[in-house]
């Protein structure tokens, strides 16, 4: 396991700047989650670290070593691809053993067998070891793909939305399993996801990316509670943060044009009257859709609320977040 440092890493594809002076330190044993919408070039960042893409500028260090000129094999990274990329002409067992048989690792056969068994056990694919990789369901392929990384003990695990096509139950279990592997092995992970729960529960650090730039890097709580911009604030939180004109409520700091209200920032019972437009019972939470002066907002309320569409609820902000016209945080 090792520390991975990116310094001013830049990559363009033709005229399109994909990664723009990205600097980030993934500490040894860290679990860093990259968040960002589709097209924020999170995957490009993983490919730059793995060596599948060569940066146009900047420096990448793995375990103190400058690796720009090294091949992917020399960098000692393991990667879980979003598209699985299982070798279709091999069985599940051969797929899992493939990295261990590489000229770099040259693992003895008995050790390979043991390692493959262990990983298959964890990922619950033991019964499928002799199947062809093409004869699996999507979820099974994804697990084999994770397994192909986990059989190794690399400097860093790079994972590109590894849990995206699993059902909720298995996703929950594998989330715990990855967390356990991280804690148990002291593994270093860089993990790309859209899923807020994965980001909040697994990450030691979260990096938020916007069009190839890293806009904030911090602990999940920092990112959630203290976002530097409206963009970052919008990446975490369900329901999403409500962005409303700052002058809707009194007490906005000067220069603020937008007030950002998460459900916990909205105090119900006092303040300005708003109208209930919809009540959504999700089971563990109840969402309340409101309009205030023609602006729609969503918040949470008591699970067994008696409120109905048309009712009036008074609301006021409580330690809300304020942003200027450019979307940057103002205090």
């Amino acid at each position: 396991m090792a520390e991975v440092i990116l310094r001013d890493v830049t990559k363009a594809f033709g005229a399109t700047l994909a990664v723009d002076r990205l600097s980030m330190t993934i500490e040894d044993g860290g679990f860093v989650v990259l968040l960002g919408p589709t097209g924020a070039d999170k995957t490009t960042t993983l490919r730059l670290i793995s060596g599948l893409e060569r940066p146009d500028g900047g420096e990448i260090r793995i375990d103190g070593r400058a690796v720009i000129d090294e091949t992917p094999a020399q960098r000692d990274v393991a990667m879980v691809f979003q598209q699985y990329s299982l070798y279709p002409h091999m069985t599940v067992r051969e797929n899992l053993a493939f990295p261990l048989r590489s000229p770099i690792l040259r693992t003895p056969e008995d050790r390979i067998e043991q390692k493959v068994r262990e990983v298959a056990e964890v990922l619950r694919i033991s019964g499928k070891l002799n199947n062809r990789a093409t004869a699996l369901s999507g979820g099974e392929m994804q697990r084999v793909s994770i397994g192909r990384a986990l059989v190794r003990d690399p400097a860093i695990y790079l994972m590109d939305e590894p849990l995206s096509s699993l059902d909720a139950k298995l996703r929950g279990e594998l989330r715990l399993e990855l967390k356990r592997i991280h804690a148990g092995l002291g593994a270093t992970l860089l993990y790309v996801t859209h899923d807020q729960v994965e980001a909040m529960t697994m990450a030691t650090r979260v990096g938020v990316m916007d069009e190839g730039r890293l806009v904030q890097f911090g602990s999940p709580r920092e990112i959630y509670e203290d976002p530097v911009s409206l963009y970052v604030a919008g990446r975490l939180g369900l329901p999403r943060i409500n962005a409303l004109p700052a002058d809707l409520f009194a007490g906005a700091p000067s220069g603020a044009s937008t007030i950002g209200l998460r459900p916990e920032h909205i105090q119900q019972g006092e303040g300005r009257p708003s109208t209930v437009t919809r009540v959504e019972h999700l089971g563990d939470q109840t969402r309340l859709h409101l309009t205030l002066d023609g602006h729609a907002l969503v918040t949470l309320t008591e699970v067994h609320t008696k409120l109905e569409p048309g009712d009036t609820v008074n609301i006021q902000p409580r330690s809300a977040l304020y942003f200027d016209a450019a979307g940057n945080r103002t205090r």
């Binding site: 599948l52 094999a73 070798y87 279709p88 002409h89 590489s102 392929m141």
Partner: protein, 312 residues
Amino acid sequence: MSGYSITEPSPRQKWIAGVLVIGYALVTLMPLLWILATGFKSSSDAIAYPPKVTFDLTLEGYVNLFTTQTRQTPEYLAEHPPQTWYEEIVRDKGMVIAGPSRFGERFLNSTIIGFGSTFLSVFLGTLAAYAFSRFRVPIKDDLLFFILSTRMMPPIAVAIPIFLMFRSVGLSDTHTGMILLYTAVNLSLSVWLLKGFIDEIPREYEEAALIDGYTRFQAFYKVVLPQAATGIASTAIFCLIFAWNEYAFAVLLTSGTAQTAPPFIPTIIGVGGQDWPAVAAGATIFLVPVMVFTILLRRHLLRGITFGAVRK
């Protein structure tokens, strides 16, 4: 409704399809069957009119194909009784076997040149196709067009220049010369066909292999090649069929050492006119290697192994 699904053909449809397929196969196989039969006919049966469908089987044609014979006096024949079954066959016509014919050598030449040029075309074609498919090659499109353009003129149109060239560099009537020539002709087909197949193999597999600790060449060898097997097999069959059947250059550029079977078979002259059973026997034997090769590679042709392991 008696439980037929929409996609499953009914027994009646299957029956009609079966009859059509068998009928078509009979029509296309008829010439082959005729050649096969002619090989086992006697010379007079082979040219009988109306043609004979039933006849007495004889191996005369095959014996004539593989041997050279001389006519001998009845005294000589009486003094030297035949030693072997094939000797006996030629004795009926008052001949003795003088030695083996050249067919064996010619057939061996065809095998060496056909398989040699096929191997070379597919080997070079695979490497070139991989490079064109995966690497940033300068003026790639122009190069690919140039490779294709070598195929735009019928090769025989440049027969005279090639003939002169081969003569001056000493490649005339050599195995090397013929292998190089057929490789040159087949290479454009091979590069283009294989590039199509390799383009279809997602790059992600190689990327995964690179990260799994393999070099670019190992990734090519262990991951790309097995998946290109279908393409390589069909390309090899096309190349072999061309090189195996090629007649015009073989007539022009070979006469002895490196002569292949196609120009040799028509030169088989029998006693009293063309020896059709021997020609048919030669043609039959000549067909076998391509058939065997195709049947051996059939497994790869039918298997679509890249289906479904990369999420689209």
